[in-house]
Amino acid sequence: MWSYIPHTREDKEKMCKALGIASIDELFDDIPKKVRMKGDYDIPGPMTEDELIVHMQELAGKNSHLDSHACFLGAGVYDHFVPSVIDAMASRGEFYTAYTPYQPEISQGTLQAIFEYQSMICELTGMYVSNASMYDGASSFAESAFMACVATKREKVLCSRSVNPEYRMVLKTYAHFRGVQVEEFGYKDGQVDVDDLKSKLNEEIAAVMVQSPNFFGVIEDVASIAELAHSKGALLITSADPISLAILEAPGKLGADIVTGEGQALGNQPSFGGPHFGFLAATEKLLRRMPGRIVGQTVDTEGRRGFVLTLQAREQHIRRERATSNICTNQSLCALMGAVYMATMGKEGLKEVAKLCYNKSHYAMEKLVKEGFKRAFDAPFFKEFVVISPKPVNELNEKLLKQGFIGGYDLSKHYPEIDKGWLIAVTERRTKDEIDGFASAAGGEVR
């Protein structure tokens, strides 16, 4: 197979001649010889297309993946079913090939799709306005902290340790360079430790940040936390699993001011952890503090319905360093998949997925308890839960992998205080046979 060759030998000679050099190597004369690579790249020679396909299939065959193994790993990215209509829609040339086609004259389809995405996110979260999406759950979570700081004119946020550790790391990185302080408060029995929160909450706090269901899968008492935050003039920011919102009360109705989350569960394959998309929705009061793009519905000069980007006056390409955020883009294609997923499933379909997740994860928890695993927390959970394993989690996972199971997340890295904590995710895709098999295999390994 030929590689893609942008220039012929004649092209290169012409260019060298124009530059007055004998060879391309002369362009690198400024780089000391001792740091330059000597010799050739140690890579094998070319293959035919046929050989290459076989080779790639061999390499791919080494992976343990969602079609070869039953997956009980979640921790932010989940093995939900992705109907084939999603790829069919998202790979249409009109959606797939164009990069940021936002001129309303030529992009009504794309803009309408984003508008519908925003409308569905608003309905799911119970919020007034949604943007056109963010990079991922972590970036939307971090950006929301800055919205709160600008809105309250305060420069410190409180974040629960029951929030996804990676979201908290992204939040701290963003905050460090914006001069925003992040303080964490603890958890008790898997839920926000209200006493710890109370002791840290005061009139200098811009926002209280929680996740529900949280990283342990536990459902937080969002309404009480919101009330507490508001009593000191702070905003309440939540991160939510969008699937859970089909059966749990919308955070907007519980007093949340900003609702963020990872959108992967909505029609995006887990892949290797991305690309996915984040959602961010807020109250009407915070409309002008929202980062990123927003599509609005309007009428053209002839009174026909149309869609345009709106509320861009505070974006970076206009306001430069005084912009509300340096996010200048969105994850349109991934968000489109989210929109197609929500439209395909419909309200009832989404509820069904959520109920299956809830029922199957509770069934799996009971099975594991019977096999000698102990529940870490008694608090209510949605589709993910923590059990304490009698043996180290990494060893257990390795053994289970050999039996065809991708085990749960090892909590020891981020929560060393939870000894042998094993975070198990069960989606609607897991069958009773898989759950039974997983529980008895895990039980067998620890006895």
């Binding site: 004119k153 002008r288 006056a313 505070r314 206009i318 306001r319 005084r322």
Partner: protein, 131 residues
């Protein structure tokens, strides 16, 4: 271009009218003309302290969100709440519709501001630069 004789101006296109040590502050006809349709006014907080030259509120038009700089130092004692619901008032009559009232901490600062004649000249120069 309307530039009332009895007001003082900044190079950043704010106007000031002083009454009993209080400065009424707004944006000029030149400013509203160049901003285009104003869709949102972010008012300063009553009670906040401002320094002359501080960006103390912002005006958002269909084109851009622009900062409004305080011409004088002092404390914001009143804001024009009607701009929240009717931001277009700034387009209709920018001099009748002040944005905020500042209790000045240094009334002498007003003397350093431009008079109508110098401000008119400044606008002309800016127009030329833009053209």
């Amino acid at each position: 271009m309307n530039i009332p004789e009895d007001l003082r101006y900044t190079k950043t296109h704010e106007w000031v009218r002083v009454e009993d040590g209080r400065a009424y502050v707004g944006i000029t006809d030149f400013a509203q003309e160049h901003l285009g349709d104003i869709v949102y006014v972010e008012l300063p907080e009553v009670g906040s302290e401002v320094e002359a030259g501080d960006a103390f509120c912002s005006v958002e038009s269909v084109k851009a969100a622009s900062d409004v700089y305080s011409p004088v130092s002092g404390k914001v004692i009143e804001v024009n709440g009607s701009l929240e619901d009717e931001p277009e008032l700034l387009n209709e009559d920018p001099y009748e519709n002040w944005i905020a009232v500042i209790e000045m901490s240094d009334p002498g600062e007003v003397d350093a501001l431009l008079d109508a004649e110098s401000y008119a000249k400044h606008c002309e120069e800016e127009e030329e630069e833009m053209a």
